[in-house]
Symmetry: C2
Amino acid sequence: MILRMSTLFVRTLRDDPADAEVPSHKLLVRAGYIRRSAPGIYTWLPLGLRVLRKVEQIIRDEMDAIGAQELLFPALLPRAPYDASGRWTEYGDGIFRLKDRKGDDYLLGPTHEEMFTLVVKDLYSSYKDLPLSIYQIQTKYRDEARPRAGVLRGREFVMKDSYSFDVDDAGLQASYEKHRDAYIRIFDKLGFEYVIVKAQAGAMGGSKSEEFLARLAVGEDTYVRCSRCDYAANVEAVDTPAPAPASYDGLPAAHAEQTPDTPTIDTLVAHLDEAYPRSDGRAWTAADTLKNVVFSVRHPDGRTEAVAVGLPGDREVDTKRLEAELGEGVVFEPLTEAEFAARPTLTKGYIGPGALGEDKPAGVRYLLDPRVVEGTRWVTGADVHGSHVLDLVAGRDFTGDGTIDVGEVRDGDPCPVCGASDGGVLESARGIEMGHIFQLGRKFADALDLKVLDENGKLVTVTMGSYGIGPSRAVAAIAEGTLDEQGLCWPRHVAPADVHLVATGKDEAVFAAAERIATELHAQGVEVLYDDRPKVSPGVKFKDAEIIGVPTIVVVGRNLAEGTVEVRDRRTGEREEVAAEHVVDHVVRVVRA
Amino acid sequence: MILRMSTLFVRTLRDDPADAEVPSHKLLVRAGYIRRSAPGIYTWLPLGLRVLRKVEQIIRDEMDAIGAQELLFPALLPRAPYDASGRWTEYGDGIFRLKDRKGDDYLLGPTHEEMFTLVVKDLYSSYKDLPLSIYQIQTKYRDEARPRAGVLRGREFVMKDSYSFDVDDAGLQASYEKHRDAYIRIFDKLGFEYVIVKAQAGAMGGSKSEEFLARLAVGEDTYVRCSRCDYAANVEAVDTPAPAPASYDGLPAAHAEQTPDTPTIDTLVAHLDEAYPRSDGRAWTAADTLKNVVFSVRHPDGRTEAVAVGLPGDREVDTKRLEAELGEGVVFEPLTEAEFAARPTLTKGYIGPGALGEDKPAGVRYLLDPRVVEGTRWVTGADVHGSHVLDLVAGRDFTGDGTIDVGEVRDGDPCPVCGASDGGVLESARGIEMGHIFQLGRKFADALDLKVLDENGKLVTVTMGSYGIGPSRAVAAIAEGTLDEQGLCWPRHVAPADVHLVATGKDEAVFAAAERIATELHAQGVEVLYDDRPKVSPGVKFKDAEIIGVPTIVVVGRNLAEGTVEVRDRRTGEREEVAAEHVVDHVVRVVRA
């Protein structure tokens, strides 16, 4: 089918939509690919749908190639399986819930681990049935607090989610590697820059997890990579290397000192330098102090608690890392004045380990940064207004209730892999999560009792992997990663057409020649978007071709009299005059290159 | 890709699912095409998804062929457009409603007239932009009171809905005819018996409307067709022909008579024959009496009223026809005792026109059957216990507040088209609505203010058509219309594969030959489902092939030693021994026939 601009359901717009900040969002709307129906909810116009379907097909082909089988679950899901897994509650406000006419609870599926687990339980019963990988390309829903950037972060979106089922860990590892390889082929074919990073498993549970991030400045995810080795990780997933525990033999005893008016780390460090200069002459730094930040935490089941994070004073708590550590659906905020008042043993600005811990009167769970290992020496609050303790030694003078790794990650921090050996340091960049692969393990199989008989006739719990790519988000990310000053600029494999053919002027011979070229290209399997509008100026047609962003533009115009047409490369802007009688062959070669 | 039974995610079941009554539902579950996720909500397993996708593609091809353009709307829709059209309320309990985290109202789209109207309003502004036909193939939701028969009547289902936009009625008529022709090609290709019937437009508003019904005994829709002409209509849409009004000159005056203990039509007729024999000797019949049935009616906006239907005593009110006449979302029930008590002028069992009408003390709206035309003479209630009026003449002695055509339609009723001229009579049959085409007219364009400039620069309201087919329902209907004693039995164009290849026995040469045949068929573009399971008995394999229902079955087994394989036709059961070296060519011919 030749797409014709004269009838195509598209209008290019001169002005940016009012709610758009991100360039790809502006251009996808202005070029007539998508329209907003509600916040975070979009309609795909014909051009947009063509790109979306191509992305989906690239994904589908690679899934089929690794033997994954496609099926299709509903989006409207019953509550019970999500109760069994705990996610009905864990998702908090993040999912859409509703009741049917009988009053039964349903949700709009945010992801389908539970349902896939159940269908395998329903059909399979033996190790002989495994391994199995099944997937769907389907519409999903999340009630995002801040839907953003058009289809980049929507509330209704398309997702390819696949799941692997294996009888043992080695099987899971193999299924995971197969998917990982398929994802690499998919992302290579989609045609934009990406990076694979270690990720936090979050609410999914499970152990190993990696993300495929599009490297984009507009991205919401910060990741870091090592300056030396190939380590890369989502900031939420960076494991801070813990120093080796040291002996505290011979260290001086802890001593409380007057530190009036030092409620902040800066004021404290200045005061220490003045009042308690170190014997070796080194200046005090924020990194010598131990900061204790107390949060009020509400769990999805309604349970609340106070949690203190103890970390070096030169670091802030990274709330995204804290969110990831606490798990999905957990809400937290700094302890309020009222909550402080209810815990008189906590002295605001001077809180120290002496008042923290589950066994202390304030009942605050006390979690320590990985850097706070046995033998490290700290200046920290003395739990008395205007007073700090010096030479407080971890392991000797205090211990926490556990460890938590939620301090901010900074450029220059040592690489967790090669920092100690080779001195590699981390550097940060921004990206957008495009794909996510997980080794779920047995979390869902346990919750929903998915067992098979093993070789010895014994029931064993199945181990699972989960693998997602968002095709609708991919469309936005590809657009964002490839656009230029003139407009969208699609990579070949996902473009809405292969060629944008423009007939200019009013000469009937031009339109006749263009029509013939369109027909011949179409006959050769080339997808043609033909601007056949009789009364539109060349300038408008060229502007439309540029903003729409089909990779090859063919212009049939006044040069036809000399027997040539122009072939333009949308990305490079290169133009070439090609003999009209050879243009079809020429374009076929360009398209298939 | 060759589908292999050894790895295909499918299990055939021996037992019918507990909740299944309809044969296609049982078989689609037993043969591993679908699984229930919740009432009326199904998962498509790989075989089922293949059939669904083929049905969708047949529809898509024909839509594209008439120049309709595909786009994709969200399923999660904002309330406002549905408020503007009135359907937020009209749908009553029939749609799923929900709130997002901000408390804003959303619905899961049952059909998308409003959204399509808005997107056209958004992009187009001139008569030059029209005609336009746009469509989507998309997941829809209705909270059916009685989800039924698997995917035949589900609560989440796939629908192709298209909409035409024209500047005038002639344009709408042309767009409607184009869609009608496309639908005929689609239904012919899907390969099952159907009939096109005149339909009631219902909540859609608008004028002309036809349904494509699958002719199936399990159908929920009753339709009638004429014994002589090509008239066919959904029972809800049958227009009862009204007799010509007659003069009432010379008819006797109405007279009330004692009719003790005659609260029913039967007792009344018996009493009339005994007490008031007619002068011409004809016996009284129920058709001589006028029955008045009073309903309590609640409208979607909460307004309630009492409505009486006056119709010949030999007919019942058809509640489905009444429902269709009153419109979607209107709820009604026979007047309760309490409501009777509140209206003392109504005498139960003896209600007559004297007490009915909006202007009477009881305030009951009185609607008359089309047969009750001016000059017709009736026996009806005298509004006094134990008394009826005879010779009550319509137009002379009483009139209604309007007409309503909700009497039951019976086999043998005169055809509305040729009954009077040629004596054609109606006969009824059962079917399932598979497609529905509507001339919506300007209902939605008016509600949402969709106007374009006409040739004279004047704003005119656009006129619309709406055209739906349910691919998921079609899968069930095709299954239902084609299955046999052995199992499913798919028409060629929608079957999950072209050939079901079975290797039997344990001979390695057999499996090697079958593998070769599978590979060669696949290379020729034939879709092969290959039963390569090494340890499964031929009997089980044959049973699986029969229940799965691929149209051509090829058996490679012991006859291979003599150089032949068997080719079976699943429908007819015909078997043919074909030389092994020619079987690929033979099958290709069969598949492409």
